[in-house]
């Protein structure tokens, strides 16, 4: 029989539901996508009469957007590197050890992951103030007075990059430890032992055997760290105040709060630029997502 296959009722409702969900999920993006290329962009959805790339060009030529973007890239990139290295070492140790502290440590990681950062922010602020005072004294003793301020912008803990990088790392570290530990659990010890028998030293074992073996696990941890830190809003909001150190999420947020003078086309372009790395990383990280959500539970 030739003809159109008849859809069952279940199929019709499945397609109907999925289409409605698709519209619900994508509709909010329509405005930002159109506004970012619309020469006369407004806060509201309208079909552009022309197309322009000016908003995107302006990010890197005229305004602070480019600086915010690079600030974010530097701090989040550094935090990701810290997490991959520290998490790689720790994850390996957690996988290989049989010491008494193994279980308590792993349970503690799960509990730590559940603590909301908003509940930690006040004491964290205090800790950072103290650390900043100590670092300030150290910097003043080694750096000439006229460059203290710029030095503190790099190594300071409040309104400085080192503190922000370490805080972002600490927040993402529990998940990374978990993922990397789980990954090492799946890689046999035999390779390391063989290398040891062949007389390889520690450095060679790490470089030739462990890092190549663990690369997928380290990559997954790195991707998820990047996504988490890139999207974080609370930490840069609390710990960065100088305009020249501002990260993209806060710059975008503050610019958007400024009534009357909002350039919607420009901000939309900035928002699109901001979400692109996150979306790309998310695409790569998709198959690790279950682990990231549940912390390694076998469902």
């Amino acid at each position: 029989m030739i003809g159109v296959r008849r859809f069952t009722q279940a199929e019709v409702s499945a397609y109907g539901f999925l289409s409605a969900t698709l519209v619900f999920c994508l509709l909010p993006f329509l405005w930002v996508a159109l506004a970012s290329i619309d020469p006369n962009a407004s806060q509201f959805l309208s079909f552009p009469k022309g197309i322009t790339a000016d908003h995107f060009i302006k990010i890197f030529t005229a305004n602070n957007g480019g600086r915010w973007f690079f600030n974010s890239l530097i701090t989040v990139g550094a935090a990701t590197a810290v997490v991959v290295v520290v998490g790689g070492m720790g994850g390996y140790a957690l996988s290989r050890t049989n010491a008494w502290w193994k279980r308590p440590f792993l349970y503690a990681i799960i509990l730590v992951r559940i603590l909301p950062p908003t509940a930690l922010i006040v004491p964290l602020y205090k800790v950072m103030l103290i650390a900043n005072g100590l670092m300030g004294a150290l910097v003043r003793s080694v750096v000439p007075p006229d460059s203290t301020r710029s030095a503190m912008q790099i190594v300071g803990f409040v309104d400085g990059y080192l503190g922000l990088i370490l805080v972002l790392s600490a927040m993402q570290l529990p998940l990374a430890l978990w993922i990397i530990k789980t990954y090492f659990d799946l890689t046999p010890k035999d390779y390391e032992e063989a290398a040891l028998m062949d007389g390889a030293n520690s450095f060679q074992r790490i470089r030739r055997i462990l890092v190549p073996l663990a690369l997928p696990g380290l990559g997954a941890a790195g991707l998820l760290t990047f996504i988490g830190a890139w999207g974080d809003f609370l930490m840069p909001l609390t710990f960065i105040s100088s305009a020249e150190l501002q990260l993209l999420p806060i710059g975008l947020f503050r610019a958007f709060q400024r009534a009357n003078t909002i350039d919607y086309g420009y901000l939309s372009a900035l928002a699109v630029l901001y979400m692109l790395p996150a979306v790309v990383a998310f695409g790569f990280a998709r198959r690790f997502l279950i682990q990231s959500f549940t912390g390694g539970i076998k469902g």
């Binding site: 499945a14 909010p28 806060q43 279980r103 559940i114 909301p116 908003t118 469902g299």
Partner: protein, 292 residues
């Protein structure tokens, strides 16, 4: 030194950096929260330089503070509305729909995942265009087609709106978990049920849902903890307003500490939240018998 002791020391050394990071920026602050909550510490003024012990004063104040109880209620409604109902129902429905052979599956999948992938600020930014601005907002124009009056939605129904936005953002999470739960159910179970003449509705209520129960429980715990921790999404949309209508507990802590400058009182609220979170975590570890 034997090989074993050397390895034991090596493992300990390798964990030191991770432990130091976690201790400095998570464990010590968590402990310090308890300490600060017994003081009148402030962000500025006299108390900032000379914080003093005030005993249980912050906690006493907390229990008689309308703002705190309001915030708890808002948190409860927000968690229930967005993660227990909104994300779960839509995520389960999406997982069920996508579990059958369907055309354009990757497109539907990607569309549902996209809201989860964007940073919170971008989510807030684009939803303001959807909701604010009276008759110009996208939502007002849509409901206008059906003859409803335009509204400034974030003033008209603020809590409902942040529930909708968070549902939008989190369908993917529920869907991914439910998909993994569904794939663990053997196909023979469904076949046997159909042989016995069960209807689709019976299969869903009698087989799918009971077999998904562990996954659903896991989802509820993780997503409750995650939803309580939300900050940027609500802060960019409403900052907790209007009049505390969307001030979930995390926003309340932030506003009390950094807008009202009362670090001691903010810490008392934080201690309550930390306690509740640890309880959720303990249930999670216990009931799900996490393998470590």
């Amino acid at each position: 030194m034997t090989y074993e002791t050397r390895m034991a020391w090596q493992n300990r050394m390798l964990l030191v950096p991770a432990f130091v990071l976690l201790a400095c920026f998570i464990l010590i602050p968590a402990g310090a929260a308890i300490f600060i909550s017994f003081t009148n510490d402030a962000l500025n003024g006299f108390a900032a330089a000379h914080p003093q012990f005030v005993g249980l004063k912050n906690y006493v104040r907390l229990f008689s503070d309308q703002g705190f109880w309001n915030s708890l209620l808002v948190t409860l409604v927000f968690v229930f509305g967005s993660s227990v109902v909104g994300q779960f129902v839509l995520g389960l429905a999406a997982a069920l729909a996508l579990s059958r052979p369907i055309a354009l599956k990757p497109v539907f999948n990607a569309a549902i995942l996209l809201p989860n992938a964007v940073p919170e600020v971008v989510a807030g930014f684009i939803w303001i265009s959807m909701l604010a601005g009276g008759k110009y907002s996208t939502l007002s124009r849509i409901v206008g087609l059906f003859g409803f009056a335009p509204q400034n939605w974030l003033d008209f129904a603020p809590l409902l709106m942040i529930i909708v936005v968070n549902t939008w953002r989190g369908i993917a999470f529920a869907m991914i978990l439910m998909t993994s739960g569904l794939s663990a159910v053997p196909a023979e179970v469904y076949e046997a049920a159909r042989m016995d003449g069960a209807t689709a509705r019976q299969i869903f209520w009698r087989i799918t849902l009971p077999l998904l129960r562990p996954t659903i429980f896991l989802y509820m715990l993780v997503s409750t903890a995650g939803t309580i921790a939300i900050f940027g999404l609500i802060y960019t949309l409403t900052r907790g307003g209007p009049g505390g209508a969307t001030e979930i507990i995390g926003i309340y802590i932030y506003n009390q500490s950094f807008s009202a400058y009362q670090l001691g009182y903010g810490s008392a609220v934080a201690v309550i939240v930390l306690g509740a979170s640890i309880a959720i975590g303990a249930i999670y570890v216990r009931v799900l018998k996490v393998q470590v």
